[in-house]
C-alpha cells in the first residue's frame, strides 16, 4: 500500500506589509454596505411619514405598471412586424404605421426610418449575400483613446493631429465610433427590393426601432 506522506506544517512566513498599515484591533469596522445616516426631518404629527409611505407605495406601483406596459408594447411590436412587412411588400409609398384597434381606442405601431447600429456585417451576409453593400454601409466617427498613446509623445501627437484637422476646418470631428448602418434609402427600398421573408430575417439582426403611440387615439369616455 502506498504510503501517504502528510505535509508537515511549514513555519509561518513573516507577513510582508509594504504599506505598513495600522492595526485597529477590536475597534468596530464600518460595514461596506452601511447606509449614510442623514438628518431626519421633525415629524411631530406623522404627516411626513404618511407622505413618505405614499411615495414609496406609488413608486412601486408605477414601476410595476411601467414594466407591464413595456412588455405589452414589445409584444405588440413583435406581433405587428410581420404584418407590416407583408402589407408594405412591393409598395413604394409605405404607411409609416399600422394600427391595432380596441374598444378603448386605437394604438399605432410606427416604423420610422431608425435602425440599430450593427457591429459587423457578418449577420447580414447569409441573408443579403452580395447585395449587402447595396443596403448597408460602414458608418464611423473618429475618437482618440488617450490611454493608448505613448505618454512621452502624447501632447505632441495630439497637437499635430489638431493642427492637421484644424487646417481642414475639422477640429471637432476627431472621434471614433464605427458600425454598420443601412444606406439612407434602405427604409423605402427594402419593401420593393426584398421579400417579406427577407425583411423579417433582416429584422432579427438589424431591428427597426418601432414605437407604440396612443396620443390622440384614445376614445373619450361618454
Amino acid at each position: 500500500m502506498p504510503s501517504i506522506k502528510e505535509k508537515g506544517s511549514r513555519p509561518a512566513k513573516p507577513q510582508i506589509d509594504p504599506l505598513r498599515k495600522l492595526s485597529f484591533g477590536a475597534i468596530n469596522r464600518k460595514a461596506n454596505n452601511a447606509k449614510t445616516a442623514y438628518p431626519v426631518l421633525p415629524d411631530p404629527n406623522g404627516q411626513l411619514a404618511i407622505i413618505a409611505a405614499r411615495i414609496i407605495d406609488r413608486t412601486a406601483q408605477i414601476e410595476a405598471l411601467d414594466g407591464a406596459l413595456a412588455i405589452d408594447k414589445s409584444e405588440l411590436k413583435t406581433l405587428a412586424t410581420p404584418f407590416y412587412f407583408i402589407q408594405a411588400s412591393g409598395k413604394i409609398d409605405v404607411a409609416s404605421s399600422v394600427s391595432a384597434v380596441s374598444s378603448a381606442g386605437e394604438v399605432l405601431i410606427t416604423f420610422p426610418n431608425r435602425y440599430s447600429r450593427l457591429e459587423s456585417e457578418a449577420a447580414l451576409l447569409p441573408i443579403l449575400g452580395e447585395r449587402t453593400t447595396t443596403f448597408f454601409r460602414q458608418a464611423f466617427a473618429l475618437e482618440i483613446d488617450g490611454d493608448k498613446l505613448p505618454a512621452e509623445n502624447a501632447q505632441e501627437l495630439l497637437e499635430e493631429l489638431q493642427r492637421l484637422f484644424a487646417r481642414y476646418h475639422a477640429a471637432e470631428a476627431v472621434k471614433v465610433k464605427e458600425g454598420i448602418k443601412p444606406v439612407p434609402d434602405f427604409h423605402t427600398v427594402r419593401h420593393t427590393a426584398l421579400t417579406p421573408e427577407q425583411n423579417l430575417a433582416l429584422n432579427q439582426v438589424c431591428p427597426i426601432i418601432a414605437m407604440v403611440k396612443t396620443k390622440g387615439r384614445i376614445k373619450e369616455s361618454p
Partner: protein
C-alpha cells in the same frame, strides 16, 4: 488572467439587462410564456470559458476575477456543445463580498448560443451540463452551478418569491434580491450597442427598489 489574454478576448455582447418590473406582488400578468428564477445578489459576469476571462456588465474586465480560479477551472473543463458548436460564453452571477455565502462561486444562468437557441432550449442544456443550484440550499464556495428556471405552469412565482425572502431571513443576509422573469421564446439578446440597453424579455422583481 493575463493582460495579453484580456487584450485578445473581447466580450461578444453586453450581458442582457432586465427591465424593472417593480415588486412581484404588484406586477400585472405577462403575455406569453415565462420562466422564473431567483435573482442572486452578486456581481454580473460574462465569462469566456476557454480563457477564464471575466467581464462586468459594462464589458470591462471584472476586477474580482482573480478570486474565481477554482470555479473557472471547472467551467473550462466542461465540454459544452450546442448544435455541434462549442459554447464559449456564459452569463453568470459571481458571488463575492456582498454576503458570506458561496464565496468565489459562479452561478451560470445562461450562455450565448452560437446558433441563437431560445431560452427554453438553453436552460435545458445548461442544467444538463452543470449541477443545478437548489435554491433552498446555500451554495458551496468555489463551485459552478447552473441556475434552473421554474416553469410558471408548475410553480407559483409568488410562493417562490416569499420563500426566497424567508431564506434570506434565516441566512441573515441578502442572498436573493427577488425574482427574474424570462420569456421562454427569446434568443439571447446579443448586442454591443450599449451596456444600458434593456431587454424586455427579462423582467426583474426585487424587494428593494
Amino acid at each position: 488572467m493575463s493582460k495579453d489574454t484580456l487584450a485578445v478576448v473581447r466580450p461578444c455582447t453586453y450581458p442582457a439587462r432586465p427591465i424593472n418590473g417593480g415588486p412581484l406582488d404588484l406586477a400585472l400578468p405577462k403575455p406569453g410564456h415565462w420562466y422564473y428564477e431567483p435573482k442572486y445578489n452578486g456581481w454580473r459576469a460574462l465569462v469566456h470559458a476557454p480563457t477564464g476571462a471575466m467581464f462586468n456588465r459594462r464589458g470591462q474586465p471584472l476586477s474580482i476575477a482573480g478570486l474565481f480560479g477554482s470555479a473557472l477551472k471547472h467551467l473550462r473543463s466542461v465540454q459544452f456543445v450546442c448544435d455541434g458548436m462549442p459554447v464559449e460564453w456564459f452569463d453568470c452571477e459571481a458571488l463575492s463580498r456582498r454576503h458570506r455565502l458561496g464565496q468565489a462561486t459562479l452561478l451560470a444562468f445562461d450562455y450565448i448560443s452560437p446558433s441563437g437557441q431560445l431560452l427554453g432550449q438553453r436552460k435545458e442544456l445548461l442544467t444538463q451540463a452543470f449541477i443545478a443550484h437548489d435554491y433552498a440550499q446555500s451554495p458551496l464556495p468555489g463551485k459552478v452551478y447552473g441556475v434552473r428556471s421554474l416553469d410558471l405552469d408548475q410553480t407559483d412565482p409568488h410562493a417562490l418569491y416569499g420563500e426566497l425572502r424567508q431564506l434570506n431571513a434565516s441566512w441573515r443576509c441578502l442572498f436573493y434580491e427577488g425574482l427574474v422573469a424570462k420569456r421562454t421564446t427569446d434568443p439571447y439578446p446579443v448586442q454591443l450597442r450599449s451596456p444600458n440597453e434593456e431587454f424586455v424579455g427579462w423582467v426583474k422583481h426585487r424587494w428593494a427598489y
